[in-house]
């Protein structure tokens, strides 16, 4: 590629802006065109279900990189711009207005879409899902209205988004019910001991939790959601219904262009797709692991690290994403931090005080540490990150012993020198 080449990035979220920035760090000197379909410059999504939802802050507070940064990095940012198709033969993208843009290399960072509730009434007004700034604003407004009118916020889904929204609803003074189809909270990603801790936390804050609650219908009144009916015939009156039942990768453009996709654009550990001219990063991807399994991660870290890999890949270099995945959730004054992937665990030990709560759950498979969930135990989380990144294995007995120093397993570089 010469300096007249243009790299087009579809999607101006966390992954898209990271690719753009990393391209400059990789020494790319040509044109970078960053296409976003929202009317905002790149912004952070995690606060949309956390602090920002509660405080209702300014949009600028969410900014990932300010206008000065975009200018300095010589990124051409086009907001409100939708891509209709990718033409891989001609190396062009076609925009919604019919115009076409040539690319030397292309990056796909289209993110994900909230899964819709597949039941009658799901399209009523007052049935909301969370993805972007506009959604968070609408949800915040609906919660405040429910609080004022003494109506209940009904959340469908007891995962991260649903629980963070439930915590926000309580903070804003609205009554709240969470309907979870499975027998416990966050059941796909955490052990029962963690689920139970969060169930207690939400009950203490006055949230009504209903398990095994399969939603059958959203009952409307004059086109607005008025209640949620579950399979067992129960009706939950609702001032607003917030659906948080997961997201699907937005891989439509990639699939239509014939790129290999399977619930996400398939990439390797270097974020390369099945087309050598195209890389992909973030929520829209499914990563092929060395053992052949496909892993989908939905996190800031994944967007950032895959973004760096993608930028390197577009420059013909390999920069694999190898760090242990990490993630966090804030609910009330409790911070949940997770590192590693606990899927397939056969043994869990806990460290710390379950009643406070301030403890960590260590997940093992066949004696190997897979992942650690820390609840108000930042030091455990940070040390576990290092353990997993360095492949250092505490035994379950060591992990469970609060007197045992996990850090002692790491040959930490001892810093004595002062100054910078």
């Amino acid at each position: 590629m010469d300096s007249h080449s243009r790299i087009v990035i579809i999607g101006a979220g966390q992954a898209g802006i990271q690719i753009a920035e990393s391209l400059r760090q990789e020494g790319f000197d040509g044109a970078i065109m960053l296409l976003g379909d929202e009317p905002h410059p790149p912004y952070q999504r995690p606060p949309l279900s956390k602090k920002w939802l509660i405080d209702g802050g300014a949009i600028g507070a969410l900014s990932l990189r300010g206008p000065a940064a975009i200018e300095r990095l010589r990124i051409t940012l086009r907001q409100d711009t939708r891509v209709r198709a990718i033409d891989r033969q001609r190396q062009e993208v076609e925009l919604a207005d019919g115009s076409r843009l040539q690319y030397a290399r292309l990056a796909i960072a289209t993110g994900s879409l909230p899964r819709a509730l597949p039941v009658p009434g799901a399209s009523h007004r007052g049935v909301l899902a969370l993805r972007g700034i506009a959604d968070s604003l609408a949800i915040g407004e609906a919660i405040r209205r429910c609080a004022a009118e003494k109506r209940r916020v009904v959340v469908v889904g007891g995962g991260f988004i649903g629980l963070e929204v439930a915590a926000a609803a309580r903070k804003l003074g609205a009554e709240c019910t969470v309907l979870e189809g499975l027998p416990r909270l966050m059941s796909r990603v955490t052990a029962p001991v963690v689920s139970e801790t969060f169930a207690q936390l939400h009950r203490t804050h006055g949230v009504q939790l209903m398990f095994g609650a399969q939603v059958a219908e959203i009952i409307g009144r004059e086109g607005h959601a008025a209640a949620v009916r579950t399979e067992d015939g129960h009706e939950y009156p609702a001032g607003v219904v917030i659906v948080g039942i997961g997201i699907d990768p937005d891989d439509l453009l990639a699939r239509s262009a014939g790129l290999l996709c399977e619930r996400g654009v398939i990439v390797d550990e270097c974020s390369r797709t099945s087309d050598p001219m195209i890389a992909a990063a973030g929520d829209c991807t499914a990563r092929r692991m060395p053992d052949g399994a496909l892993v989908r991660l939905e996190s800031v870290q994944n967007a950032v690290e895959q973004g760096k890999s993608a930028a390197a890949a577009l420059m013909g270099r390999e920069r694999p994403f190898v760090a242990a995945p990490w993630f966090w959730s804030d609910q009330y004054d409790v911070k949940l931090q997770m590192v590693g992937l606990s899927r397939g665990y056969d043994h869990v030990v806990t460290r710390g005080d379950l009643s406070k709560p301030a403890f960590s759950a260590f997940y093992y498979r066949a004696g190997r540490l897979l992942a650690v969930d820390s609840i108000n135990r930042i030091s455990d989380h940070m040390q576990s990150k290092r353990l997993l990144d360095h492949g250092v294995q505490p035994t379950p007995e060591q992990a469970a012993d609060p007197q045992f120093e996990l850090a002692s397993l790491l040959k930490a570089p001892v810093a004595t020198a002062g100054g910078a």
Binding site: Q25, A69, M382, P413, G419, A420
Partner: protein, 107 residues
């Protein structure tokens, strides 16, 4: 308006005017500095906004919270006695002239 100088990993110095109360992280992100990632957006959850504070300024800063101290145990670059997370440092008039140095790497 306090001015803060950031030293990028390649040695370049960039001086920014900060609003009172604005975090050093926020201003660095808005200016598009290279030496910072701030993946968690200022939630003290990722330790990727690590900086070294010029030693003569250290005692003018509020002490790190327990959370920040824990986060500092796992910064990607070398942890030094003057290591801080820039998302936890807020600009004040008495910090006018502060200099911080970004490490080689954040993650």
């Amino acid at each position: 308006m306090p001015r803060v100088t950031y030293i990028e990993p390649d040695g370049r110095a960039v001086t920014l005017q900060l609003k009172r109360g604005e975090t050093l992280m926020r201003a660095a992100m808005d200016a598009g500095l290279d030496g910072i990632e701030a993946q968690c957006g200022g939630n003290c959850a990722c330790a990727t906004c690590h900086c070294y504070v010029e030693p003569e300024w250290l005692d003018k800063l509020p002490l790190p919270s327990e959370d920040e101290q824990f986060m500092l145990t796992n910064v990607a670059a070398e942890r030094r006695p003057n290591s801080r997370l820039s998302c936890q440092l807020r600009a004040q008039d008495e910090l006018d002239g502060l200099t911080v140095v970004f490490p080689e790497r954040q993650s």
